[in-house]
Symmetry: D2
Subunit: 146 residues, 4 copies
């Protein structure tokens, strides 16, 4: 579960006048997380794009539990909840590096589309890569449902 | 339903390399919408803050239906779905001014807190203002549940 | 001088934990200004792009005079300082709608490039449009040096 | 010269429809750089704030040399050009980790102010810290003029 971690240091540009990270910026952190997840399994998003496939977000949800503040070091944990015929769902947990407290949880769903925006099947190479990893147990994105 | 409308012209800074509005930026549009909703009923958010009350976002959700692009003129419609004892839920619809097509729908939930972040009751003045408007029927945020 | 004006209401998403508009976001306001300037003279940037020409920023400068705050209504005034063989320079003034106070001043320089990023001449149609306006005196971007 | 380096991986949220990093986002990278510079000398910005002092940006300039793109790994090098009686100037260089090519150069100037926004002297502890480092030669921000 949640195998890929990154850390991110909050800058002023992420915060708002309430003194906390602006709510839209958690979606930037989610993107950092899923980008790293794909890189970790050996299929960076740029490679998916080189196949003529994009994965625009169709849904995004975030539950804000505790505020993050300037200079906080955040941990973003990312996993794949499912990989379907033409979509993928990522789940995220953002916590404080300092005390481990959960700050936010959320998910994003992405459709696979071609360069004209038409829905296409989940790229075969991505599917196989995830299945191989699951079979080997080396890097178990354990909640993947293929 | 959905009584408060604003329009917004997409700038380059809102888009990403996929040529469409970056998914996190819809949450900025939601904020513009709810900020205008509060101003429209005569209780700008800055006034709520002057009472020592903040309304941080506790949940945000967006369903992305069709992409918005550079220079598109967007319509953001905002309404309140409910006002509870210590929280408020806004719902949003973003559509294309040019053809009326729905581009995104979503919601945000906000808790009322004091300056130390402690949960407080929904400010009485906000509650009364919304009830008065509903009773008068002049500006009916019809889905409000008080 | 400074003939094209737009107004913009500051949202939470523009501010930072210092309670003021984050310094990078003034460059978003500059973009809103020059986008409107081009639309005002009848050559929206999207049209320039339809000719296969882009105008990436090569320099940006901002002098921050007084802070802008949440819910402030800002006025962005934009003009063209010069239009050269292969570049254009915009100048900006951001002030408070409420009291007219100058908040920031700055400029951006843009090169004209083709779709491969190669420098090209200033599009003839843009040049002529600006010259015609100057000659007619109807909409005098008076500081233009052609 | 330019002693503090950080790296940053470009996300979709940093780019625009031209396929390159949006020009305002370089100012976010500059902030990451100067934040790390202060942390490297042992005076994180949060500590400066704990003394009741802020350092709002009074000027920012960026010269964009070559575009940065999605997933590029960027190097941000930061140094202090001068530390004056009541201000500080940082200089930045952003380059490509892959090929070392310079992508952007710029600077920011910051005034020291108290919590009411009144200009104050450069904090003594910051001044001494920088002088001590220069004297020891251990971490020579060599272009500092004290």
């Amino acid at each position: 579960m949640m195998p890929v971690k990154i850390t991110y240091r909050v800058i002023y540009g992420d915060t708002d006048a309430m003194g906390i990270v602006y709510y839209a910026n958690y979606l930037r952190l989610f993107e950092m997380g899923r980008s790293e997840w794909l890189r970790a399994i050996g299929v960076p998003y740029r490679e998916i794009e080189s196949w003529g496939v994009h994965a625009p977000t169709t849904q995004a949800y975030c539950h804000y539990l505790h505020p993050a503040r300037y200079e906080d070091l955040l941990v973003v944990e990312t996993d794949v909840e499912y990989l379907k015929r033409a979509s993928i769902k990522f789940v995220y947990r953002i916590s404080s590096q300092e005390n481990g407290r959960d700050l936010a949880k959320g998910y994003t769903v992405h459709a696979f589309v071609d360069e004209k925006g038409k829905i296409v099947s989940t790229p075969q190479a991505l599917k196989e890569r995830i299945q191989r990893i699951m079979a080997s147990g080396e890097f178990p994105p354990s909640s993947c449902q293929l």
